[in-house]
Symmetry: C2
């Protein structure tokens, strides 16, 4: 890029957040990197697929009455989003037992849960995530009881929509991690919760229904160049390839 | 069919309900007929697509903790369902203004509603459907207040799932009509609501997102043989064609 050097506000393994052109906006830059077991790998085209997927999901959620931070896609790798006051707790909605949920509750991996279960995650800087209850959230002032209720309702709606969306392309949504932020009214005296961050395979556990193969970053636990398949395959099934040329062709040797 | 003649319990333009083999079950037979403006037309393969679609949706809803009457698909045109005590009111969930909703509220056809809106329909035998409120439903004893709440919650979840499911195949869910029934506990002292009837283009208004062409039975308002396209196209996009051969090839002359 030949533009004046931009100063990142926040840098993570898979994304960079810049100040937006308009006040009250950020630019979310989707990197090609994927992080597995504290190792970072590059997957050609991953950022572009995630940018498109997150745009598609957020635009549709918006039309369903679920507010999101998405404003518009800028280019293949960037989107303009609303600057929010992010909540300190993240939400996980689980449809199927996987990951730590299996060991924490002594379940079988892959067991369908009786209904979607909502959990809250909190992270102390430099420490791993931990599960917290409404009691912690309200006692420490991370969110008000009404916000917890609002967040739970929105998370369940988003999870039901995503379950249908992925099911139609032959993919099972095992669980998803969501982040919300407060959007204030002009006088800063009222706020409502808005879906933030991104909806991509990086925050969702996905399984190919036919092969039961993992379609998310968990599939990179033993990383290989074939890993690139998954993001591209999700993009292909949603029809992101073709005219737009967002999804690159399969890498040689796959 | 060479089997002993079965006696239908209920006959409609698009379906026939028979007594099931096991006690407490019915057989739902999907006809190829479609009814538009009180005229009935035959669409080759329609029943098979609707049977598969309803199976697919109900099995997935079941795995999400939403109870349905579906037990198993018997063959191309029939499925075994649980016999329920059907509620007298049906539920309509609307995402976009269409049909009578436009004239009743003075809206533009195709306007996105601020959020999904739930309505209740009741029909007096031999009369057209009419919209009723919670007040009518509870006063006439058609459903208890707790049942209305349960039905509303389930209908909204089903609508969010269907919105995602259809969106992934390029189809917009404008609205959907749902029917619920009571399933009693063994001692008949408790009941819960269960999704009944079918989830098919016959009860959903669908639009092709790209062409904005109608994909439901509304597209047969001016009926022609090309009408067969829609059901088959839905089946094709969901991958029902191919090995199973449920979806017949395009009719000559299309």
């Amino acid at each position: 890029m030949n533009r004046r050097e931009r100063v990142p506000l926040y840098k993570a393994e898979t994304k960079v957040i810049f100040e937006g052109m308009e006040p009250g906006t950020y630019i979310h830059y989707f990197k090609d990197a994927v992080q597995v077991d504290n190792e970072t790998h590059e997957i050609h085209g991953k950022g572009a697929v995630n940018n498109r997927l997150s745009e598609m999901v957020m635009v549709t959620l918006g039309s369903m009455g679920i507010p999101t931070h998405f404003i518009r896609r800028l280019n293949m790798r960037e989107q303009v989003v609303r600057a929010l006051d992010l909540l300190k707790v993240k939400v996980v909605v689980r449809n199927t037992a996987a990951g730590t949920f299996v060991s924490r509750f002594g379940l079988e991996e892959g067991m369908r849960l009786p209904r979607p279960i909502v959990e809250f995650l909190w992270q102390q800087e430099g420490h791993p995530f931990q599960y917290v209850s409404e009691e912690h959230i309200t006692a420490f002032g991370w969110a008000a009881p009404a916000e917890i209720e609002e967040m739970t309702g929105l998370a369940l709606r988003i999870n039901d929509f995503l379950t249908g969306l992925f099911f139609a392309i032959g993919v099972q949504l095992v669980d998803c991690k969501l982040q919300f932020g407060r959007c204030y009214s002009d006088f800063h005296d009222e706020s409502r919760l808005v879906l933030a961050d991104e909806i991509t395979p990086d925050g969702c556990r996905l399984l190919d229904i036919k092969s039961q193969q993992k379609f998310d970053r968990g599939s990179y636990a033993s990383f290989s160049t074939e890993g690139a398949f998954d993001y591209q395959e999700i993009g292909r099934r949603f029809g992101f390839s073709g005219p737009l040329g967002v999804v690159p062709q399969k890498v040689d040797g796959e």
